[in-house]
C-alpha cells in the first residue's frame, strides 16, 4: 500500500470507530427516553428537556463543523 493509501486506511478506521460510537450512544438515548415513569407530567417535562437539549447540541455541532470547514454559521 502506498503512503496515500495508508493514510486513507487510517482515516477510515478512525471514522468507523467514531460512527460506531455515535450509533451506540444514540441507541442508548432512544432506549432510555422510551422508558417512562409513573408520573405523566414529569415524563413529558423530561422528554421536552431532552429534545430541547439535543436540538441545541445538534446546531452547535453543525455550526462548529461549518466554521472549521470555512463555511458561515447558520
Amino acid at each position: 500500500m502506498n503512503p496515500l493509501g495508508a493514510d486513507i486506511a487510517l482515516k477510515l478506521s478512525a471514522l468507523l470507530a467514531a460512527l460506531t460510537a455515535i450509533t451506540v450512544e444514540d441507541l442508548a438515548a432512544i432506549k432510555s427516553a422510551g422508558v417512562l415513569g409513573p408520573d405523566v407530567t414529569t415524563n413529558i417535562e423530561n422528554l421536552q428537556t431532552l429534545t430541547t437539549n439535543i436540538d441545541e447540541d445538534t446546531i452547535s455541532q453543525l455550526n462548529a463543523a461549518r466554521t472549521a470547514a470555512g463555511l458561515p454559521t447558520l
Binding site: L12, G34, L36, P38, V40, Q48, T51, T58, L62
Partner: protein
C-alpha cells in the same frame, strides 16, 4: 479530489447512514416501568407518545449530523455537499425547536401550526435527498441516504397520526 477517493467517500457515507438506520429500527413505542407491587401499569398517554416520537426525531437528527460531520472531518465528504446537508439539517432543527413546545400540551387550537411545522420538516428532508445525493453516483449510498432522511419524515407522520387519532389534529 482523486477519482479513486470518491468511491471510498460514498462507502463511508453509506456506512454512516446505515449505522443510524440500524438505530432507528430499534426506536419503538414508549413503555412504562413496571409497578413495584406488580399491579398493572397505566397506558402511555397520547402526549407522552408524541413527545417520545419527537425526542426520537431529535436523537436521530443529531446522529445523522454527527455522522456527516465525522465523514466530512475525515476528508471523505466534499465541502460543497457538507454545506448543503448541514444547512438543511440546521433548518430542520430550527423548525423542530418551534414544534417541541407545542407538543407539551397539544391542543386543537395549535393544530394548523403543528401540521405546518411537521410539513416544513418533511419538505426540507426531501430537499436534503435531492441536494445531498446530487453528487452521489453509487446507488447503495444514495439509497442509504434516502432511508435515513425519510426516517425523520416517518416520525413526523407518526406524530400526525397519533394526534389525529386522538382528535387533536384535524
Amino acid at each position: 479530489m482523486k477519482n479513486w477517493t470518491r468511491p471510498i467517500m460514498m462507502v463511508l457515507l453509506a456506512i454512516s447512514m446505515g449505522g443510524t438506520g440500524a438505530m432507528l429500527q430499534v426506536g419503538c413505542a414508549a413503555h412504562r416501568t413496571p409497578n413495584a407491587n406488580g399491579s398493572p401499569t397505566a397506558q402511555v398517554t397520547t402526549t407522552e407518545q408524541v413527545n417520545f416520537d419527537n425526542a426520537q426525531i431529535a436523537i436521530h437528527n443529531r446522529a445523522i449530523a454527527q455522522g456527516i460531520v465525522a465523514t466530512q472531518q475525515a476528508g471523505f465528504l466534499e465541502t460543497e455537499y457538507f454545506d448543503k446537508l448541514s444547512a438543511a439539517q440546521i433548518k430542520i432543527t430550527r423548525i423542530h425547536e418551534q414544534l417541541t413546545p407545542l407538543l407539551k400540551n397539544p391542543v386543537a387550537a395549535n393544530s394548523a401550526q403543528i401540521n405546518d411545522l411537521l410539513s416544513q420538516m418533511k419538505t426540507i428532508a426531501a430537499q436534503m435527498v435531492t441536494d445531498g445525493t446530487a453528487g452521489i453516483k453509487n446507488d447503495q449510498s444514495k439509497q442509504s441516504m434516502l432511508t435515513e432522511v425519510n426516517a425523520i419524515s416517518s416520525l413526523a407522520n407518526s406524530i400526525i397520526s397519533t394526534l389525529t387519532t386522538a382528535g387533536i389534529l384535524k
